[in-house]
């Protein structure tokens, strides 16, 4: 469903993504892990057609994001890094916008919107403008927008960060159910226990390079242990001045 061959993206002298090659099958939940600045969001942007690769090839749903951007956007749902919300639309209006742009029949759109608002506990804030929403509400709105058109592939950039435990559990359930129905989920996250719980494929990125790619069942040890070994091990430096009287 997702194929990358020698994908590279440079920003001037800096290589953000370096010679990335991987495949993700239909119905998989792929956790794309790595430290801040590793190139995860850049990769997601290239997969969703928001950024052109410097070199290499990408195919999502059999389409090239650069050649068929509109057709690709019709088939994918995205929860972007900065959520992609308009301050001047309410939670419900964002969903109505998505339904209109993706051409959903009115009755079906209404039913799906009602169900999504209920499932994600957004009903009480449906008429709240995005500018007045909490970060969690904004994230749930963006997640609902990604799901609403019933996409074939879901790209979720850090979906579980800043989400309350109940909604996080609901979202995990929704994603597992979607994957069981053949929808491919490609997500980035820093919350390793959650990634470990739901992922069927794990990829780790470090300094723009893919350092690990295997089915989740292929991990011999815990994901966190693997991550520290493959990506970077934590070094806690003592900050002696912390707690000293202020100058």
């Amino acid at each position: 469903m997702i194929t990358c061959r020698n994908l590279t993206r440079r920003f001037g002298e800096h290589t953000a993504v370096n010679d990335l090659s991987f495949e993700v099958d239909a119905g998989a939940i792929c956790a794309f892990l790595g430290p801040n600045g590793a190139g995860k969001s850049t990769t997601v942007k290239m997969l969703t057609g928001l950024l052109a690769p410097t070199s290499g090839e990408v195919e999502v749903c059999g389409l090239n994001p650069q050649k068929d951007p509109i057709e690709l956007k019709r088939r994918i749902g995205v929860l972007p890094e900065d959520l992609g919300l308009f301050d001047d639309l309410t939670v419900e209006e964002h969903l109505e916008l998505t339904a209109g742009v993706y051409g959903l029949p009115k009755r079906e759109a209404k039913e799906r919107i009602t169900q999504l608002l209920r499932t994600l506990s957004l009903e009480h804030g449906r008429r709240t403008f995005a500018s007045a929403c909490s970060h969690g509400m904004r994230k749930k709105t963006s997640f609902a927008m990604a799901l609403l058109p019933n996409p074939r592939v879901l790209f979720l950039d850090e979906p579980f960060e800043a989400i309350d435990p109940v909604t996080s559990k609901i979202m995990r359930g929704v994603l597992q159910s979607a994957a069981a129905h053949g929808i491919t989920v490609f997500l980035t996250s820093h919350i390793l226990p959650v990634a470990e719980e739901i992922a069927t494929q794990v990829m780790m990125l470090s300094k723009g390079r893919l350092v690990w790619n295997s089915p989740a069942s292929g991990l011999e040890r815990g994901l966190e242990e693997h991550y520290f070994e493959m990506v970077e091990s934590p070094v806690v430096e003592e900050l002696e001045w912390l707690g000293q009287p202020q100058s």
């Binding site: 928001l50 019709r74 972007p80 890094e81 992609g84 308009f86 301050d87 001047d88 209006e93 051409g103």
Partner: protein
């Protein structure tokens, strides 16, 4: 003062990165055109208006610092005030306008008037610091539009209704209505008034994405819409407000001028994408581009009075611009 100086230094550095070329200095068409029209009679007042209305506003350097971060800094009241009052002076345009004001008003303005002007500026700075942002919902009750772009057009209208450009055009338009009802407005005044109403709105046409923010811009890129559709939703909102405003003047000229404003404004809208602030005047295109837009608006408004073919040509130019800049918008990252 060391803390204030450190912040000003950082803000100045950020501002310098934005203002590497003369092109980055944007202005407001209505302001520049009225300065030119009124010449010496009104220059002083208008330069002051610019100081009051433009610089604490759209190009306020303190906007470089997120309000939440500013609130967290351990500054006392005196330091916050000095930061507020000193920050505009790190913008070279403020110096330029202040120098212009002093030059024009030398010897003819009393100390008292300067004091009034000073208080006005301080007052606007104060208002500028108030969290007017997105509070209230009165202007957000927008009717629905037919078609898939309904919510986009509604959003764009809401954005336009929180800019001062619209209210400036509205006041001009209402003044024309009042003059036509209660006084005798000479026929020859109608055309210039039409152009002025269109010019008052035109700077907004240069920064149609200005209030969407980075998050909104990313959403636009994710929607399965062609570039021309995104611009058309913007233009539909613009024309929804511009057309009724031209009813009080010369409707055909007003419509042609609005189409020209959009046709020319698409260029700056797509290429510069300057962020704007709510409840401020818009400042999108570089100065010369803005002036060209104003000149073409005036020419279109005048020419349409001779032949209706000009209106058709304006519509054709708008469609061509929509298509061209729509394609450019799609190709940009």
């Amino acid at each position: 003062m060391a803390r204030t100086a450190a912040i000003l230094k950082a803000v100045a550095r950020a501002l310098r990165r934005d203002q590497k070329t003369i092109e980055s200095i944007a202005g407001n068409n209505f302001f520049w055109v009225t300065v030119i029209l009124l010449q010496r009679a009104g220059t002083f007042i208008y330069l002051l208006l610019a100081l009051i209305l433009l610089f604490p506003l759209s190009t306020d350097p303190l906007r470089k610092v997120p309000a939440s971060r500013r609130a967290l800094w351990p500054l006392d009241r005196r330091e916050r005030w000095s930061l507020r009052l000193l920050s505009p002076w790190i913008n070279p345009m403020t110096w330029l306008l202040a120098a212009g004001s002093i030059f024009v008003a030398r010897g003819s303005v009393s100390v008292g008037l300067w004091a009034i002007v000073g208080s006005l500026i301080a007052g606007v700075f104060l208002i500028s610091s108030l969290p007017l942002g997105t509070r209230g919902t009165a202007w957000r009750a927008i009717p629905h539009f037919p078609g898939a772009l309904n919510q986009l057009i509604r959003k764009n209208l809401r954005e336009m209704l929180v800019t001062l450009d619209f209210y400036c055009a509205l006041i001009l338009s209402l003044c024309v209505i009042a003059f036509r009802i209660w006084a005798r407005l000479p026929e020859e005044a109608l055309l210039p008034m039409t152009a002025l109403v269109a010019i008052a709105l035109s700077s907004y046409a240069q920064c149609l994405f200005g209030l969407d923010g980075d998050s909104g811009l990313e959403r636009y890129r994710l929607l399965p819409l062609r570039g021309w559709q995104v611009l058309a939703a913007k233009d539909a909102a613009y024309l929804t407000l511009a057309i009724p405003l031209s009813f009080s003047v010369v409707p055909a000229a007003g419509l042609s001028a609005a189409l020209v404003a959009l046709a020319v404004g698409h260029s700056a809208t797509v290429r510069h994408q300057k962020p704007q602030a709510r409840w401020r005047f818009s400042a999108g295109a570089p100065l010369m581009e803005g002036l060209w837009q104003a000149i073409l608006i005036a020419m279109a408004a005048a020419a349409v009075m001779h032949t209706i073919w000009v209106a058709i040509a304006c519509a054709a130019a708008w469609i061509a611009s929509l298509w061209w800049y729509g394609r450019m918008w799609e190709s940009m990252e």
